[in-house]
């Protein structure tokens, strides 16, 4: 039991670190790169291709780390009109079916993506010469984080379906 608790705590720490801290660093990096680029071009008349590349890859890292964070808090946009008309039990059944399908899809997709990531070690970015496998590593990371959050949702929904007790939502990420 103590081992499981420690495992859960460590897992949560790692996920928090990736989704909060790492994503925040990339947001600041994107802002800094775009801002400094203006200064470089307008003040020094010397636009920097390095900064451009940093901004381009920071952007995709923010998206693919931000998407699992939004998933964790159920923030992704939904079309609720039909969903709100059915009973809570049926809503859970819908959620379970789609979450299961989506999780299997992410799992099946992971392996070919990983093969591509391994292959992309040979290709380097134009300016900074960083292997693509590092620049695109956010994508397999996104798949893993999404699988984890989906499984947690499946667990919560199943528990609610059996016990009729709704799981408490997590606190907002900034609280």
């Amino acid at each position: 039991m103590a081992f499981l608790r420690a495992l859960k705590k460590t897992g949560r720490f790692i996920i928090d670190f990736i989704e909060y801290r790492v994503a925040s660093v990339f947001l600041l990096l994107l802002f800094t790169a775009l801002f400094v680029q203006v200064v470089m071009r307008y003040v020094f008349n010397n636009p920097s291709p390095e900064l451009f590349e940093i901004s381009r890859y920071s952007f995709i890292w923010i998206i693919f780390l931000g998407a699992p964070l939004a998933r964790r808090f159920g923030a992704h946009m939904k079309f609720n009109v039909i969903y709100d008309m059915v009973s809570r039990k049926l809503q859970i059944v819908f959620d379970l079916i789609f979450n299961a399908f989506f999780t299997v899809m992410l799992f099946v997709t992971f392996f070919p993506i990983w093969d591509d990531i391994v292959f992309y070690r040979m290709i380097r970015s134009n300016v900074l010469k960083i292997p693509w496998s590092y620049l695109l590593f956010c994508f397999p990371l996104f798949l893993i984080l999404m699988i984890i959050h989906n499984l947690i949702w499946i667990y919560k929904d199943t528990r609610e379906l059996i016990t009729v007790k709704k799981s408490a939502n997590e606190e907002e990420p900034w609280d």
């Binding site: 775009l34 801002f35 381009r56 780390l65 939004a70 939904k78 997709t109 994508f139 990420p173």
Partner: protein, 431 residues
């Protein structure tokens, strides 16, 4: 077979309340499996192709700027100044609501950011002053429509990415239509204020106004700085978003002294979270775009319209496009419509010779209008919660008074292209 399965899974998951972005990805997965496309294509389309859409980098920055303004009370300061300026006028707070949205529109690119940020302040002030909840909510919804029409604008960023239209000219093209809609809304406020006898605001002496102007000057400078920067050739529209973040950050620390490290951390977190679901939707929609392009759907639709002779009438095409966008907007999210429908419509629009900047403004205005209409009108739900007014009353007020006025604005913008293209042409647009 693959395409049919794609639509069944995508629309099925979508209709039954699964997140829209995930429904798109799941539909794409089914298509990839049945059509024999390698699953590695997910990364090629969603990450590699997305990283090439440089203009989209503006989206996280505009969200960042809006969060900074809302959380450091910059919006509050602007609202305070406009409110004092409108003192003594019947329905003054309703005009304040519209005028503040115009200023906020010059700094934020999102209708939802307007409603949920400054909208909360506006509704509270109006209700405290004796306005009824449905009117306060409806004015807030209507005025927020202006936010993505006047530059900067997130929907215009997405449109530019999809069509290749110049973002700089699109931004310019939005200014007059945005002001026109604001003017029409102000006309409706004038009519309703007189009819219902809404209160006159307190009149402030010139000295107080001057003091308030001085206090809000730094914030009011932001939209001007953006326009001068973009059209003075100092920065691109994408970089403008980062400059705006830098500027708002600077004034919130130095001028207004409203920033702390804790607050900054919270704002960054909020931004990552919002970018997570807003920008991911764009990444997921690229999958839909890929499937539709691979099946040559845009070409099929264009050929259908050419064969049917509908392309002979530009008037009819614009009318049917507007009706289609409006109806879709009642049920679907703005970004979904943009990302799925615009790539299909694009060859059609080009075939008829409709100017892409003009069409961009038409679709933006139309989709913003859709955000105010039931059953999917998100702004109605947000303002209803803020004012604690039944959502049916909010939508009722919108449908009776403000939607017709906005439709009138849309018709003018659609059939008098000079309203849209006059300003870009002054700055050298050849369209």
């Amino acid at each position: 077979m693959g395409l049919a399965l794609f639509f069944i899974v995508f629309l099925g998951a979508f209709a039954l309340g699964f997140p829209i972005a995930f429904a798109m990805v799941m539909g794409g997965f089914t298509y990839f499996i049945t059509a024999g496309v390698g699953l590695g294509s997910f990364m090629d389309v969603m990450a590699i192709e997305l990283s090439g859409k440089d203009v989209l980098m503006a989206v996280p920055m505009f969200i960042f700027a809006a969060n900074l303004m809302n959380d450091t009370d910059v919006t509050d300061i602007i609202f305070g100044f406009v409110k004092q300026s409108m003192g003594g006028v019947r329905g003054g707070l309703a005009y304040t609501n519209i005028a503040t949205s115009i200023i906020f529109a010059g700094m934020s690119g999102s209708e939802i950011a307007d409603v949920s940020g400054i909208g909360a302040i506006e509704i509270k002030a109006m209700m405290d002053d004796g306005y009824d909840g449905e009117f306060a909510s409806a004015v807030t919804c209507a005025s927020a429509t202006i936010s993505p029409i006047i530059p900067p604008s997130i929907p215009m960023v997405i449109y530019a990415m999809l069509t290749g239209a110049s973002l700089g000219y699109l931004f310019l093209a939005g200014i007059i239509p945005g002001l026109l809609i604001a003017l029409l809304e102000a006309g409706m406020v004038y009519y309703l204020s007189k009819k219902r006898g809404y209160p006159k605001g307190k009149k402030y002496p010139f000295k107080v106004l001057l003091k308030s102007f001085r206090r809000s000057f730094a914030a009011l400078l932001a939209p001007i700085m953006l326009l001068v920067g973009i059209y003075g050739g100092i920065f691109t529209p994408t970089e403008a978003a980062a400059v705006l973040v830098g500027y708002v950050l600077l004034i919130s620390i130095i001028v207004y002294k409203k920033m702390s490290f804790k607050k900054f951390k919270k704002i960054i977190m909020k931004t990552v979270y919002s970018v997570g679901f807003i920008s991911f939707m764009i990444a997921a929609a690229l999958i839909v775009k890929y499937v539709l392009a691979r099946e040559e759907i845009p070409l099929l639709i264009t050929n259908f319209f050419i064969d049917s002779g509908m392309l002979d009438s530009r008037f009819l095409l614009l009318l049917s496009t507007n009706i289609m966008f409006f109806l879709l907007g009642m049920f679907f999210d703005v970004s979904v419509i943009q990302l799925v429908v615009i790539p299909i419509m694009l060859p059609l629009v080009e075939a008829v010779g409709i100017d892409l900047v003009h069409f961009g403004v038409i679709t933006t205005v139309n989709l913003m209008l859709a955000l105010d209409t039931p059953p999917y009108g998100q702004t109605g739900y947000i303002t209803s919660a803020l004012s604690k007014t039944p959502v049916s009353k909010v939508f009722g007020e919108m449908l009776r008074y403000f939607i017709p006025i906005e439709i009138l604005g849309l018709i003018l913008i659609t059939y008098f292209p000079d309203i849209v293209l006059w300003l870009p042409r002054i700055f050298g647009y050849a369209g």
